[in-house]
Symmetry: C2
Subunit: 193 residues, 2 copies
């Protein structure tokens, strides 16, 4: 972490805070406490990132390497990220309260222009044994994988180099047409991405 | 608004608050105060929605049509949406401070797994004279249109029935491969979606 630049940390806070929101809603929809707890772990990570960023920003200002105006933008962007992360934690809290979300509310979270989905990758699926980068899943189907389970291992916010294996469970987010496409691909019924 | 159900309002708060975050980052990236001001207008709308939701939720509890546990989930989901909306407003504030964001910070917001882009729809583009629903732009390219400008008119969070015309400026968000595809489609260089 020590070697990250200010802009890299701002980016990480932005990306992680948005991932947290998606994970939090998924945890509610699939009544999944493992995902809800990950939101808590990410909140700890974001706190650390934020403290690190404050220190670096002040040092840059002290050394006249960053103007006061630019430093204010940095701190405000990061604070907004922190605020989004807090909101995500509050959503995850609903899941951790141990009261299952009312079915109508689940439908209401799902019934958006952007839906959440969960699929299992079958042996015959063309998704198996390929990386997300090679599959270009996001641009070909509109579906973003936000979390996946590989056996007992969980992975959050996978990247281009993440490999999908048969048996993996993918938690994804995207448009309704994309969900249909992803279900067909994961089941192996469609072999064309 | 009077006739909306509690779950419909929860969904609207969720969708609008996420749209606000995207609009706020776009306003910063493209130094666009019109979009930043829309974030403020949406915040006013969300406040009204939230107050309405509180009243409806309490009435349902009073009439024993909603349990206390379910009502708590409703209020907490809506509060989280409010918090996300506040964060979006803080990001839009950075734009409205009249200090242009440092280029490195702009790059850092852009250089994410999910990028923001802005394209103009040319006369030859196959996007022209079609609705977003017909184009299935989100599932075919991974790009979500978050705002568009049609002459002097702006439209935020367009839906399936929104028609694209030549000359429209689209502000969209999605994976890098999707951005390339959208640029090709909007320019008319690619006629296949």
């Amino acid at each position: 972490m020590k070697n990250k630049t200010v802009d890299e940390i701002v980016l990480e806070i932005k990306d992680k805070s948005e991932l947290m929101i998606d994970l939090a809603y998924s945890s509610l929809l699939y009544d999944n406490t493992t995902i809800a707890k990950e939101v808590y772990d990410l909140e700890d990570l974001l706190d650390t990132l934020y403290k690190n960023l404050q220190k670096k920003t002040l040092e840059l200002v002290e050394n006249k390497k960053l103007s006061v105006d630019d430093a204010l933008s940095v701190l405000r962007l990061a604070e907004a990220g922190e605020q989004i992360a807090d909101a995500a934690q509050d959503i995850a809290d609903i899941e951790l309260r141990d009261v299952e979300l009312h079915p109508i509310l689940k439908m209401s979270i799902r019934d958006s222009d952007v839906v959440f989905t969960r699929v299992e990758v079958s042996k015959n699926s063309i998704l198996a044994n390929k990386t997300l980068g090679k599959l270009k899943l996001a641009s070909e189907t509109g579906m973003n994988v936000i979390a996946m389970r590989h056996g007992n291992r969980w992975l959050y916010g996978p990247n281009k180099n993440t490999r999908i294996d048969s048996g993996d469970i993918l938690f994804a987010k995207g448009p309704e047409d994309g969900e249909k496409h992803l279900i067909e691909l994961a089941s192996g019924r469609t072999r064309e991405i």
